[in-house]
């Protein structure tokens, strides 16, 4: 390893830092003004890449030359900017006041929609873009060849930083953007049309995402899946830099670029782990990133379960539901039982998340980590230790509980959106480990042959087994919600200052909640592994976390029973719609958006409201 090699690695790091900064800069600007973490930012980046990879070659056919190339890149970015405007006007504008969980989910709905629409428009194949005219020959640096296009990219980052800085400091638009970052309502009271300001900001943010994506076309082909990989990195950059801070994003991108360039030498397989570890460390030391500041907690955060008068029929209703579920094998065939088993598993998974979100107000965006850890723990115990189901399930639960205790220890220091991002990052680390540690986890293929013990292997017995476990654990969790711990979590959610002043150690309570919730999710994961006979990394992915959140959303986060209803509804919908169309993601995405906009209280919450209105 000589000096010139290190220099080239450093330059590589700088060029990826530049690309990352340009994209993340847009994300952080949009967050600063709208307070929305736009999950769809990565989708805009992907659209930028697809548009440029399609548009630029056609333009080059008309007139070949650098001007055409760069004009094409710019035009693509502008197209993406306009799409950003569309998203703002149609969706974001309606959810500015909503709790952050809803905002995250709604923009994730856009991610799903864009995924299917992109394939509809551009086709399922990857598209390789043209190389930049005039920049095709590599340059020689320290005796090594280095692509000259990368040098242009290295310069692009600081140029964008300078232009954005000038825009924010020296123009009236910039002053208003920074003012709106702090207080949108006040800006309106001073006579500024904030709708226009927000639309402008979204244009700028989406333009930067599109530019980031379009600039990639000479380096990588436009492909489906770029959206989630860039958004995860862009999240890390904005969070490490401090959400809303442009210079912070720049610094963070530089650090992460270098870390990736040199981390690959140390951990050749898992740069992802290194990047997310950096985020974990930075947030552990500086909970608001390099240049971020504590969020002003608004009323929108305080949604969740509240004390209600007990219905005298509550216990009766629980017994009745369990009775009906126990009678299901009398009427249902094997297929129905299989579906019912899965619904029960996901009901437990969603319910375990409700302890964090509905009770504790802790928006965990990486709950799949615990579900997956439970599944993998069980599967690994079967594969490597030859455990039977009876001991493999507790092993999975234990692994999930340990994982939750470890992750919880980091995240309980955080709040709001930082906590959401950190849990997401933690889940991505676990995902990366499962994906890249092929020798142990089987990588992409996962682990097969995870079958239940003989006595439980029939669909009916396994259904009863699942019903008994999930019912017992859910009843236990309901007790915990009503017990002092559940109340202490609500206390900390309602008022941190008051909770501390009555002697509650908030972090310890939250850590305990994470561990309990993780253990329950892990049990669900273990049962799931045995019901399918296999595990694979998708169990740990962002879409699995979003599934759990969607179930909560459908059922209603203010209710104890909401997640159970949500799990059933989502599963049945998926079962009914998936065979009919290949556009399931489009349907799901639009449904999530529709629920956020129309029934933010979910099914149970809406019914309850409707009943209360009548009385």
């Amino acid at each position: 390893m000589d000096l010139s090699f290190l220099a080239i690695q450093a330059l590589n790091g700088l060029s990826s830092a530049s690309s990352l900064f340009i994209t993340a800069c847009g994300l952080t600007l949009v967050f600063g003004v709208t307070r929305i973490v736009n999950f769809a930012h990565g989708s805009l980046y992907m659209i930028g890449a697809y548009t440029a990879a399609t548009l630029v070659p056609r333009l080059l056919e008309l007139s070949f030359g650098p001007v055409t190339f760069w004009a094409g890149i710019l035009a693509s970015a502008i197209v993406v900017g306009l799409i950003g405007v569309l998203i703002e006007v149609l969706l974001l504008r309606r959810i500015y006041g909503a709790p952050e969980l809803f905002q995250l989910l709604a923009t994730f709905g856009v991610v799903l929609v864009v995924q299917d629409v992109t394939i509809l428009i551009f086709g399922p194949e990857d598209i390789l873009g043209p190389r930049a005219p005039g920049l095709r020959a590599p340059v020689e640096i320290f005796g090594r060849r280095f692509p000259s296009y990368e040098l242009v990219l290295i310069a692009a980052g600081p140029v964008v930083l300078g232009l954005v800085w000038l825009l924010l400091r020296k123009t009236r638009f910039g002053v208003l953007v920074r003012a709106a970052t702090q207080d949108r309502e006040m800006i309106a009271a001073l006579g500024v049309n904030q709708a226009l300001l927000f639309t402008g900001t979204l244009f700028l943010g989406a333009f930067l995402a599109g530019l980031g994506g379009a600039l990639q076309i000479p380096r990588v082909s436009a492909h489906a899946g770029m959206d989630l990989s860039i958004i995860a990195e862009a999240f890390v950059v904005t969070v490490v830099g401090g959400m809303g801070s442009v210079p912070g994003a720049f610094l963070a991108a530089l650090v992460i670029g270098q870390l990736q360039a040199f981390g690959i030498l140390i951990f050749p397989k898992s740069t992802l782990v290194v990047v997310f570890l950096l985020m974990a460390i930075v947030l552990a030391v500086r909970p608001y990133g390099f240049f971020g500041r504590p969020e002003v907690i608004g009323g929108a955060h305080a949604v969740g379960i509240a004390s209600r008068e007990r219905s005298p029929f509550a216990t009766l209703a629980v017994i009745a539901v369990i009775g009906i579920l126990a009678a299901l094998p009398l009427i249902g065939d094997a297929y129905v039982l299989k579906v019912a088993t899965e619904i029960l598993i996901f009901a437990l998974f969603a319910f375990s998340l409700q302890i964090l979100i509905g009770v504790g107000g802790l928006v965990s965006f990486g709950h799949a980590a615990f579900f997956g850890l439970g599944a993998y723990g069980a599967a690994l115990a079967v594969k490597w230790l030859a455990f039977p189901m009876e001991t493999a399930l507790p092993a999975g639960l234990l692994l999930a509980a340990l994982g939750a205790a470890l992750i919880g220890a980091f995240v309980v220091r955080l709040s709001g959106i930082y906590l959401a991002m950190m849990t997401l990052a933690a889940a991505q680390i676990v995902f990366a480990v499962a994906f890249q540690w092929v020798d142990v986890t089987g990588g992409d293929n996962g682990i097969v042959g995870v079958w239940p013990s003989t006595w439980a292997s029939g669909p009916t017995t396994y259904y009863f087994f699942t019903l008994a476990l999930t019912a017992a654990v859910i009843v236990l969790l309901m007790r915990i919600i009503d017990a002092p711990l559940g109340y202490a979590l609500r206390a900390a959610r309602d008022s941190t200052a008051r909770a501390e002043a009555i002697g509650l150690y908030i972090r310890r309570h939250r850590w305990l909640a994470f561990t309990i919730s993780g253990a329950a999710a892990g049990l669900a994961g273990g049962i799931y592994a045995f019901s399918r006979g296999s595990v694979d990394p998708t169990l740990l992915g962002i879409p699995t976390s979003v599934d759990a959140l969607t179930m909560l959303l459908i059922g209603g986060i203010q209710t104890v029973t909401g997640p159970l209803v949500g799990a059933g509804v989502l599963h049945v919908l998926r079962d009914q719609i998936m065979p009919l169309t290949s556009l399931w993601r489009l349907v799901l995405g639009l449904s999530i958006i529709a629920i956020v906009l129309v029934f933010p209280r979910g099914i149970v919450g809406t019914i309850r409201n409707w009943r209360e209105e009548r009385t």
Binding site: D494, A497, R498, E500, L504, L512
Partner: protein, 258 residues
């Protein structure tokens, strides 16, 4: 023994000194007010006594025990209750549950997982609410109360820890004139009966001069004067630095508009 002894507290934030060499004492059953212009360091001193801020120098002694480095939670268990400028209660719970949580907290049962919170210490909670005149509202959601009532509930929460010392940060901010006097009368009678020392900050001079037994005037982080309310009112230095023209403080009687 002196209940609260604050010795030479100093604190600065990034070069700006918010409190310098602040010392005072507070006895059982005494009501002591800290007043001063905005930015004088009232909140800083207050939060150093409450445990939200760690002083750069100096010490806080409660009943002779050094609590300078103790967390707010620890101080609560040692007998420090507090209320906040904007009342802090648990809005998702009923009035009684709010007080029950404080009782659960004081008995270190907040990590219990089995028997329901709402059945624990219910009678004790209602008895505390009785003291502040809120027992009739015990089962109402805290979010449905009028602000003056929320302040009373907050007082009951603070009393749940059987405090020796009660810290009240602008206890009457946001209340109507008559409610202010009522709340402070109530506080004074409870404090007197139980021998609780009360330290409070306040902007409303009627409350200060009507309810404090002693007053500390802070200006730019330093104690400018300490004394009985009447002496403070007459102190020429205090008037110049803080009170300004005395007319702004007196109630106009038949004053015609300018």
């Amino acid at each position: 023994m002196t209940l609260l002894s604050v010795q030479h507290l100093s604190k600065s934030f990034g070069g700006v000194t918010a409190a310098r060499d602040v010392s005072f004492t507070l006895e059982r059953g005494e009501m002591l007010a800290i007043i001063g212009p905005n930015g004088a360091g009232k909140s800083t001193v207050f939060n150093m006594v409450g445990g939200q801020l760690r002083p750069d120098r100096g010490a806080v002694l409660l009943d002779g025990q050094n609590i300078t480095a103790a967390s707010p939670q620890k101080r609560f268990r040692l007998g420090v209750g507090r209320t906040f400028q904007v009342a802090q209660t648990f809005l998702s719970m009923s009035v009684a549950e709010n007080v029950q949580m404080a009782l659960i907290g004081s008995r270190r049962e907040s990590e219990a997982l089995w028997s329901p919170a709402r059945t624990r210490y219910r009678d004790d909670a209602v008895a505390l609410l009785e003291q502040v005149g809120m027992a009739g509202m015990a089962d109402h959601p805290c979010s449905a109360l009028a602000y003056g009532d929320v302040k009373r509930v907050e007082l009951a929460i603070a009393l749940a820890g059987q405090p020796k010392l009660l810290l009240m940060d602008e206890p009457t901010a946001g209340m109507a004139a008559r409610e202010r006097a009522d709340l402070m009368d109530l506080t004074a009678s409870i404090a007197g009966a139980k021998g609780i020392g009360v330290l409070f900050t306040e902007h409303d001079m009627d409350v200060v001069f009507g309810h404090a037994e002693r007053v500390i005037v802070l200006v730019r982080g330093r104690i400018l004067a300490t004394g009985a309310p009447e002496d403070i009112r007459q102190d020429p230095e205090v008037r110049r630095a803080y009170l300004g023209d005395e007319h702004a403080l007196e109630r106009p009687k038949g004053l015609s508009p300018t």
